[in-house]
Symmetry: C2
Subunit: 316 residues, 2 copies
């Protein structure tokens, strides 16, 4: 099979011109936004996107706006050449890789640095504002006020505003018809869906199932940072999720009990819990017992690596 070489675009205007030219020819465009270091999970998003549109754009951009200054922006893994090879290996491939250098470069700097401004807000600053000379002057943020509050929003206070904002930027630059997000980042997926609805973006958002390695670990670019021992410990997350689902199916539907036993097993394996929550699949509000569709969401640290995972459970 001939491999398809994706066109690599680094410039916003060129990207939008490509999209508009294609649209004028009657083509539809699917977007899969990524931060690179692609794994099978990303590739499954692309396969999903291919079902919906004629053309596929994959964006590869590590967004400083969604990392707080104490988070792992500087160690986030990357392998652009390897990513391109993986994309070429997908049946039918992808058409464009959008790989901008800096999405927050507006061509001039304001007199006052973003750092100073961030500090005014009470010390919560993203890496965007921390990196002098990059992104200076960016001050527009999208917030999805209810959905962003719980779970990852509690421990990562700038994360979802950064994600929502960069996704809006990507939508405005690429103008896709469809965008595919992984349900691995469940809260993110729901937030993007809500943003699209509330701001009337002309983009259909599709959630694609999370992918697990053979041992059960949810695929994540961050897994590469796990030592073999940590990886072994981290399997406690997926085990706890499968056990919770199985218990629920047997009628054990009191969430406080399910949560307690999950926390115990993950901690026993050596994990440090960020949260274990059982929430409504759409509103992400905590539920007390499993009546309607819920999703069990976990975030836990193994060494220096924070992992998230989740599992939908529908009412029995």
């Amino acid at each position: 099979m001939a491999l398809k070489e994706p066109k690599i675009i680094r410039n916003k205007e060129e990207m939008r011109n490509w999209s508009r030219t294609m649209r004028a020819q009657g083509k539809t465009i699917g977007l899969v936004p990524t931060m690179g270091f692609l794994h099978q999970g990303h590739l499954s998003l692309i396969t999903e996107a291919q079902k919906h549109t004629h053309l596929i754009v994959v964006s590869i951009y590590v967004n400083p706006g969604q990392f707080a200054v104490n988070e792992d922006l500087s160690t986030y893994p990357s392998d652009f050449a390897g990513d391109i090879e993986k994309l070429k290996s997908i049946p039918n491939g992808v058409d464009v890789v959008f790989n901008p250098q800096n999405l927050y470069d507006y061509g001039f700097e304001r007199e006052q640095s973003g750092v100073k401004k961030g500090e005014k807000e009470g010390g919560i600053v993203s890496c965007l504002e921390d990196e002098k000379g990059r992104g200076i002057g960016h001050e527009t943020w999208i917030r999805v006020s209810e959905l962003e509050k719980g779970m990852c929003g509690r421990s990562r206070p700038v994360f979802f505003r950064g994600v929502a904002t960069v996704v809006a930027k990507l939508f405005n630059v690429i103008e896709p018809d469809v965008a595919v997000f992984g349900k691995k980042d469940y809260q993110q997926w729901r937030i993007i869906q809500r943003m699209v609805r509330d701001l009337d973006f002309a983009v259909k958002v599709i959630g694609s199932e999370l992918m697990r390695d053979e041992d059960g670990l949810a695929m994540s670019s961050r897994n590469v940072h796990l030592s073999p021992q940590e990886r072994e410990q981290a399997l406690s997350i997926s085990r706890a999720l499968f056990e919770a689902r199985s218990a629920a199916k047997k009628g054990k539907n009191i969430c406080s009990e399910l949560r307690r036993s999950m926390i115990e097993s993950i901690e026993a394996a050596g994990g440090k819990i960020d949260y274990v929550e059982i929430v409504d699949q759409e509103s992400l509000e905590t539920v007390e017992d499993i009546k309607n569709g819920v999703v069990v969401c976990v975030a836990a640290w193994f060494g220096k690596v924070r992992l998230i995972d989740n599992m939908e459970i529908d009412a029995s």
Copy 2:
């Protein structure tokens, strides 16, 4: 001259379809967003828009999202039939009037009302959240964090988030190439410019000069609520602005002195000052003396009517 009858569109999908059909025919689209009760100031925005695009859409929508619950949403003047007549009277007219009933209707209601949620936030709620059954579930807001802080942002805490959000919605529904905003709402114009830059909207934002009645009062839909006596008193605003500019041209460039004398004359006339600020034209940061281009901005109450006005002063 034959009058041009604008097409009236009330539905988002129909609106977007119209725009996309026109764009596919090579036409460019200009948007003039309004809250209706049109006056000569609005008509001048339309004339400006006509210079830039083939087709003109005027939106008429009183946006509950930008009014706080204690503000004048319920008394905001409207006259749809009169507006249409005025639009027909403009040379070359307009092509579409977009007049949605409720831009925040997403076709279903969430279980929890927006009111309850708004209260959680500490009592600051917009009329959007206050009106039961309308807009329930909307929770995505755009904030332009620095530019929104001063001036009108201080006394109207939900105003700019409501404006930025509804303008983003209109951009996503109408997909215009150009949008024209009045420099009468100076801070709003700068906020929209910044939002468009920061979120990469493919829309060119144009600021159009404010219009004054013959007596000097800045045109505003709210002027209709002024009694003859209040209107007389309100002329103190434009007089103070012209005097400040004239004093600055004569070398009196210390802003604290200019402000003090403006405040004195407006108060002497019976106005209640909300703010008088002399700020940089782009950053809207307070300046101490007039070196570069500044804008003098005023908000003041006359009876129950809050009026705003401004004047750009360039360095002599």
